[in-house]
Amino acid sequence: MRVFTTEGEIERALLETKDECLETDDARLISTEWRYRGRIVRRDVWVNPLRLSKIGVENGE
């Protein structure tokens, strides 16, 4: 299986991956770094918003 990277398609077996999870008050994020011969050739990111946007206060408050 070949993976699309900044250096074109590279065989999956030649790539090393590193996953990282970060979290702030606003979002939880997972990133995957793909390295080829020590160089980052691809980076994917998934963002999960944690803090909603809220307007107003409840009635009666």
């Binding site: 990111v45 909603l52 946007s53």
Partner: protein
């Protein structure tokens, strides 16, 4: 430039009272744009601007269309709404760290709705996905209560 802050645009609060925005499923066209760190986005943001916006391979200025398949609804004392699909860029390269996305109304002069922040990131020939929370009164992305 100041840090980006996640917030509902103050202008949006006034604009919904003027019936400017229509977030119904068949309503206005909404978009999401990505911004670099320290682009001063927050509650004072009134509209989409190219200043501070991310750029790179796979990114089109103005950002992506936001899928809106479910109209705002209510539960108890709360009205709420969430985009009905994740927002995703593929084959994306953003080499300078970004930490904010702006939800805005492209049908109404690109007026800002809200800003959302995340831990600063770069992307390289990859996929950048903003997943949406469950659309409920307690987890919906945008709530009025």
């Amino acid at each position: 430039m100041a840090s980006n802050v996640g917030a509902v645009a103050i202008s949006f609060k006034s604009e919904i009272l003027q019936a400017i925005h229509n977030l119904a499923a068949s309503g206005d066209a909404l978009k999401a744009a990505l911004y670099y760190q320290n682009s001063s986005l927050g509650s004072g943001t009134t509209a989409y601007s190219a200043t501070g916006e991310a750029s790179g391979t796979g990114y089109t200025a103005g950002g992506k269309a936001v899928t809106n398949g479910v109209s705002p609804t209510t539960s108890g004392l709360t009205a709420y709404w969430t985009p009905s699909a994740s927002i995703q860029w593929t084959g994306l390269t953003i080499s300078t760290a970004m930490d904010c996305w702006l939800l805005y109304n492209s049908s109404k002069s690109n007026r800002a709705i809200a800003t959302f922040t995340f831990p600063a990131q770069t992307v390289a020939a990859g996929t950048f996905t903003i997943t949406m929370p469950a659309n409920t009164a307690t987890t919906g992305l945008l709530q009025v209560s």
